[in-house]
Amino acid sequence: MSAQRFRRIVQLSRLKRLTPIALCLCAIELTTSGCSQGVLAPVGPVADGERLILLDALGIMLLIAVPTILATLWFAWWFRASNRAALYRPDWAYSDKLEVLVWAIPALVVLFLGGVAWIGSHQLDPARPLESSVRPLEVQVVSLDWRWLFIYPEQHIATINRLVIPVGAPVHFRITSSSVMNVFFVPRIGSEIYAMNGMATQLNLLARDIGQFPGLSAQFSGDGFSDMTFNTDVVSEKGFHDFVVGAGASPNRLDAAAYLSLSRQSRSAEVKLFSKVANGMFDDIVSRHLPPGSGPEPSALSILPR
């Protein structure tokens, strides 16, 4: 639900009679919008699996949590001091049967969920390749201060802050950072993974629906952190081909000098395309052959907070 609609509903509810109706409308709107965005609205098998585990685990635990909460409220109320109907048992401080029950039931639930956790960790391990008849697309991701660099090594192109992938094809990501830790995350498509300098983490994702999906960094990385949002465009095969061709026509080249300037701190988040990427650029970044980003400019090395 958009903010404008929300504001209009609030304005309507200035007429006091409508306030309860307005609140109900809001609640319904908010709930349904919650289910059509974000983690509960997956567009890929990885996100699907994670959502399933989330909801199943939640359901199982609610079976225990809800009765516990209700019992708490009920016991507190029924055994209130003023209730003469309640039996006062001041000596009752131990029960074998209850001990067995309170240790056993949570243990059984944990046993079950533990199995889910073990199996799920393996099946949804980020480094595990996805089953598909389509050959995976290689994308290399570098987190900069404070943008995302996406390198397509087989297509020899690169982008800043725009990830384009073909629908239905598995994508194999290798991820690193030019400086500080970040986390690469496209919530509706699947898992997060850390981006760390000097190391390359791996992620395998697949998107089955065409559309545009928001992505962000999920590890705080400094002043420009909130600007590190990017869009993931899932396009048809033809759309992807057009994108590659379009990027190939860009006048920008990604060589060592260009990377060096990119690795300087900047809050500019504009989308940029590169038509020629130097060979082995990603590996040079991981091995620190291309040095890590240098951090704040020397003039900012003063004591001042700015």
Partner: protein, 626 residues
């Protein structure tokens, strides 16, 4: 001469910290002036600042916690309001400010609110419950408190001289290394934690990890730097090996408070005492085996992730057992709903929800989409506020009459509870939704429209909590005003079951004239029950002896003063001043060590007078059938 310190360290161009500092400074000056004008200064120095009495130190810890709660909560209000105003805009706090504010919020709440609160309650109550005179090392107790206060002072100085860390409350490298955080902010954080950490001697791990980051920043070491073989992942592992047990350090004392309060206000002994103890010990051990769940997404692989996920879930079992024990303590009881019990019932409901979401995130694939999101933020606030803070408030209301001799006003206590309770849910349930909608933590601005309504609701919740805090301040003011009416005459206002309720309110310095003989699990309840049956006190008046109590000493406050000097000097690289600080600390210890008398005697007549008062009050209460 002054290292990197210049006049530009003061944020002349930023109104918010300047005004805040001005208000606080004026307030402090006013309080100090009032104290001196009224002639209270000698009393404050002798009875509080240099006191080594566990009761006094406990009260000071809780006071520190409550004052820092105001500071930490102001940070929270600023964060919420910034997010409301920063939808498709910049809000009113630029990133470098906002980043300091959320870093300060977390640091202050964990190290200078939650820790001091539980330590303060423990300090006050445990020796009384054990029937002894004081803790084993009273001067060390005082030094620990003052070093904690020194750390808190440094954090607050950073508001006005320099800056605070901009890295979050756990400063992950490489961001926290000198290269990416060249200012003094991270140094303020590190020194304030080293100093207060030395005070609490938290497990050496936190000390060491902090020391390693200091070595990197000050002496060019390479523990966690990007180059030269440093390993930022090692920081993450080390800090969370400390960090997870730390949250259990916070919550287990709160559990203790609830055990006391729930059994007292249900009129029954604690249910399943032995399994409570077993559960606590299980939690203690298990808490060392779960740390990786804080970074499932760092790529350790399925086996490692699976192991730590399962271990994390296993901790939920003893925790659940405790909840059921409290539940069955109420069963068959006579439940009274005074404020401490309200906080306890509120805790039971809230903590179950928070624990549930924790187990949810303990499943690694679920964490893969929830790590570092507002879902996580909602979870830990759920358990820390619902667990630690509610426990602290329950303990505060419960033991206030014992510490000060009069109860807290009940009406405002209820209001405070309900405002906090409703405010908490209003503020944090939307954060669960936001996490599921893909919003990550620590965002200074955002532009996704579907997030906006929830951010608004969360801000409203913060507003309700603000009212709750106001209600608590009013409660205190009203209680002080009406203290004659609220006086705790017998020393046992709640019909308590443990030994602290056998003393007068407030207890004399020596706690017990004769150390009581403890029988069974609830010694005081047994004594009282028998006394009620006989309608007179169980023991005859003892022959009073003089009692030795530890002497006051200024060692704590002087050490802390020099510790602040050291910290401040090191932060600004004024090395000669740091040297003076070290010499000062050494000198303080030598002066302390050189004294010939470490105890002073309370004469038998005084012991007799205090004890007879207590006995008289209780005898007349028994005669009246109380």
């Amino acid at each position: 001469m002054f290292g990197r310190l210049t006049w530009q360290a003061i944020p002349w161009s930023e109104p918010i910290p300047l005004i805040a500092a001005g208000v606080v400074g004026l307030g402090l000056a006013a309080i100090v002036a009032w104290v001196f004008a009224k002639g209270y200064a000698p009393y404050i120095w002798k009875e509080w600042i240099t006191s080594v009495d566990h009761k006094r130190i406990g009260v000071m810890y809780c006071l520190l916690a409550l004052v820092m709660l105001l500071r930490g909560f102001s940070d929270a209000v600023m964060m919420r309001s910034q997010q409301v105003l920063a939808f498709h805009g910049g809000g009113y706090l630029p990133p470098d400010h906002y980043n300091q504010i959320f870093s300060a919020h977390g640091t202050i709440m964990i190290f200078f609110v939650a820790m001091p609160f539980v330590i303060g309650l423990m300090n006050f109550v445990v020796p009384l419950q054990l029937g002894i005179r004081d803790v084993a090392f009273p001067t060390l107790n005082s030094v620990s408190f003052w070093l904690t206060a020194a750390g808190a002072l440094l954090v607050n100085i950073s508001l006005v001289v320099g800056e605070f860390a901009r890295t979050g409350w756990l400063p992950y490298p490489p961001l926290s290394e000198l290269q990416y955080s060249p200012g003094v902010g991270v140094d303020y954080y590190l020194w304030s934690l080293q100093i207060s950490g030395a005070g609490t001697l938290l497990s050496g791990i936190n000390l060491v990890t902090t020391a390693m980051l200091l070595l990197d920043r000050y002496l060019g070491f390479h523990f966690f730097t990007n180059e030269m073989g440093g390993n930022p992942m090692m920081f993450v592992n080390l800090i969370w090996v400390w960090g997870h047990p730390e949250v259990y350090i916070l919550v287990l004392p709160a559990f203790g408070v609830f055990s006391e309060v729930i059994s007292t206000f249900s009129g029954k002994p604690l249910f399943g005492y032995r399994s409570m103890v077993a559960a606590t010990m299980a939690i203690c051990v298990l808490s060392w085996l779960v740390w990786l769940h804080h970074f499932f997404t760092m790529g350790a692989g399925a086996d490692v992730n699976g192991f730590f996920g399962i271990m994390t879930m296993i901790i939920a079992v003893p925790t659940g057992v405790k909840v059921y024990n409290w539940l069955f303590t109420m069963y068959g009881g006579k439940v009274r709903f005074e404020p401490p019990m309200l906080w306890s019932i509120g805790f039971m409901v809230t903590f179950v929800i928070g624990g549930m979401t924790g187990v949810l995130m303990a499943v690694p694939p679920a964490d893969f989409v929830l790590h570092n999101s507002l879902f996580l933020v909602a979870h830990f606030h759920n358990v820390i506020i619902g667990g630690v803070l509610f426990g602290a408030f329950a303990g505060y209301n419960y033991w206030f009459p014992k510490a000060f001799g009069f109860r807290l006003d009940e009406k405002w206590g209820r209001r405070a509870f309900w405002l906090w309770f409703v405010g908490f849910y209003t503020a944090f349930m939307p954060l669960y939704v936001l996490g599921l909608l893909g919003m990550t933590r620590r965002m200074q601005h955002f532009d996704r429209p579907e997030w906006y309504p929830w951010v608004l609701v969360a801000a409203a919740g913060a507003g309700l909590i603000t009212l709750g805090i106001c209600a608590q301040v009013i409660q205190l003011a009203v209680s002080i005003r009406d203290r004659a009416l609220l006086r705790d005459i017998t020393g046992d206002p709640w019909d308590g079951r443990t030994l602290e309720w056998a003393t007068a309110s407030p207890p004399p310095a020596f706690n017990f004239a004769v150390m009581p003989n403890v029988k069974g699990e609830e010694p005081y309840w047994g004594m009282k029950t028998k006394a009620r049956e006989l309608a007179h006190l169980l023991t005859a008046e003892p022959s009073y002896q003089p009692i030795s109590v530890p002497r006051n000493t200024a060692t704590g406050v002087v050490t802390a003063f020099f510790a602040v000097v050291i910290g401040f000097a090191m932060i600004w690289r004024i090395y000669w001043l740091a040297g003076i600080g070290f010499i000062g600390v050494y000198a303080a210890f030598v002066v302390f060590a050189w004294r010939d008398r470490s105890e002073e005697e309370i004469p038998a007549a005084e012991v007799a007078r205090r004890d007879r008062e207590n006995r008289l009050v209780r005898t007349s209460a028994l005669a009246k059938g109380a």
